[in-house]
């Protein structure tokens, strides 16, 4: 785009540019379609060639003769002399609206808004899983059986229960007694959420995942080796970006083994994946 020196009127400058463009070309194809080639200049100054192939279908419609006559009326007022068809300055098409009448609309709408409210309330609360740093409670973590919590595997704030067993306190200065040592050390402590007992034998831990990865990308990649029951991609709560590691569970351990072998070292995004079997939390 050459800027004409000494001219300040941008409107005329535009005109000069459009003159240099090739004329619109319309080619009639053998199969009845038309190819329209138009040229334009983009905002960044690049010349763009647009090729459109269109097929015209004549739809015949019986209309009221009065209506048909009115369609032929000449335009007047501000529209005087304008060509037929809607003008872009006054008429545009809005985005699609799904309108589906339903009985009991109000109740269903209220339900929706209530659910939304709950969601936002959850969002505001600071919840962080100690295992995967996701925004859920540690007990709800899908990997609580397969992974140990990040860092120290201790539950420092969970000592309310300990006070109920005064006999177990006061040993060696620290008042905290881990749950599995309570009641005379009998029993290994109950597992929380026992019904979510998962077959961690078929779960893979994938690390060095690109931070732009999506769960669906992983699912697509890993479902090549067998039925994937679950994909979990750890994401940062603030930015929504991946944290760099994920878990993939298979229905079958042999599929998992195959995937582990094939996908370890696979290039995804700009990084090389590291895949291994998830270690069971102790």
């Amino acid at each position: 785009m050459s800027r004409v020196a000494g001219r300040t009127d941008w409107a005329e400058e535009e005109d000069e540019d459009s003159i240099q463009l090739p004329q619109q070309q319309i080619i009639k194809n053998k199969d009845g379609t038309e190819t329209i080639i138009t040229w334009s200049i983009r905002e960044d100054g690049k010349k763009v060639k647009t090729t459109r192939r269109i097929k015209k279908t004549v739809v015949k419609q019986v209309v009221n003769p009065r209506v048909a006559e009115r369609k032929q009326w000449a335009k007047f007022g501000n529209e005087k002399g304008k060509p037929a068809g809607p003008q872009t300055d006054t008429t545009s098409i809005a985005e699609n609206i799904a309108f589906r009448p339903m009985a009991n609309w109000k109740a269903s709408a209220e339900d929706k808004s209530e659910a939304e409210k709950k969601k936002t309330a959850m969002k505001d609360a600071k919840i962080k899983c100690r295992i995967c740093s996701g925004d859920h409670w540690t007990t709800k973590c899908p990997f609580k059986d397969t992974m140990a919590p990040e860092g120290e595997p201790s539950a420092a704030e969970m000592d309310n229960e300990a006070q109920e067993q005064p006999g177990a306190l006061g040993q060696g200065g620290s008042s905290y007694v881990p749950p599995h040592l309570r009641r005379g050390g009998a029993g290994a402590g109950e597992k929380m959420g026992g019904k979510y007992e998962r077959d961690d034998l078929a779960t893979l831990r994938v690390t060095n995942v690109s931070e732009f990865a999506e769960e669906q990308d992983l699912r697509d990649m890993f479902s090549r080796f067998g039925h994937v029951t679950r994909v979990f991609l750890a994401k940062d709560r603030e930015t929504g970006r991946a944290k760099g590691f994920a878990f993939v569970s298979y229905a079958d351990r042999s599929d998992a083994a195959k995937a582990c072998e094939k996908m370890d070292g696979y290039g995804f995004g700009h990084l090389i994946l590291r895949v291994e079997f998830a270690k069971k939390s102790t």
Binding site: N64, R66, V67, R70, K71, W73, K75, F76, G77, N78, E79, K80, A84, G85, P86, Q87, D89, T90, T91, S92, I93, A94, E95, N96, I97, F99, R100, P101, M102, A103, N104, W105, K106
Partner: protein, 335 residues
Amino acid sequence: MRPILLSGHERALTQVKYNSDGDIIFSVSKDHVVCAWFSHNGERLGTYHGHQGALWTVDVDPTSTLLATGGADNTMRLWEVKTGKLLKTWDFATSIKRVEFSPDGRQLLGVTEKRSGHLSTIVIYEIEPDVDAEQTNEQSLRIVCDESKATVAGFSYLSKFIIAGHEDGTVSQYDAKTGELLLNITVHEDDMQVTDLQWSPDRTYFITASKDKTAKLISTNDLEVLKSYSTDTPLNSAAITPVKDYVILGGGQAAMDVTTTSARQGKFEARFYHKIFMEEIGRVRGHFGPLNYVAVHPKGTGYCSGGEDGYVRVHHFDKPYFDFMYEVEREQANL
């Protein structure tokens, strides 16, 4: 459905109307200009220039040859639909809030505003339904509303009655020949203005919208309230849909409060209620200001709404709209 967005006005829309065949939409706004649009594609047919003030109302005669408008420049004007030519101007002491043709197109009704020294009136002119004819200056009837000012009015079936809605929430029935007040009934809450009155296709009943957040379906003969639709926002307009038994209500909080509330809370949606079961069945969003008027295509294939945001949105209903039925309706249809 994909609404067509008409952006020919620079200020808030005050009324939109379909002609009797539903192919043309007329819109008036506070920007002094009347626009005519083709309803099927949103193409603007033309504009009518001449008014010196905000326009409040528009109506077209049944043959789509004459157009009447009224506005804040204290005039009521008659136009030729086809060319945009001004045919006649009637001057008044106050602004015109509502105009309406009679069902046969031979009478034109105007509602004048109340202002210091002037009471609100409903005036009627005999109209020659011919573009070249000289229109009369003489009012064939003049009804003075001394109790509470009239805000809306219209002709009943066969031009037998004139029904008017008032500022105090009442609806009154006048004899269209003599102008005698036959009935006056409080249908809306006290001192809650009736903002709109639209007819059923046969004009034996009508719907009123009010600032008291309700719309009422009222019979023409005895002004009995047949149905009541309550919402959570002041209503500006209500329309009855032919073909399907629905009503469409439009509203939103007052224009002065708009800037302080978000579009989400503003309730700027067209609400669809089932006419008989009085239950809300859906909403159509899109405007970012209150809806000042909703008009339904006379064949029931679509509707358009004019908003305080200056846009007219033309909607063509699609299949789910026509398919929807209540269980009892479906049973009835299958019999």
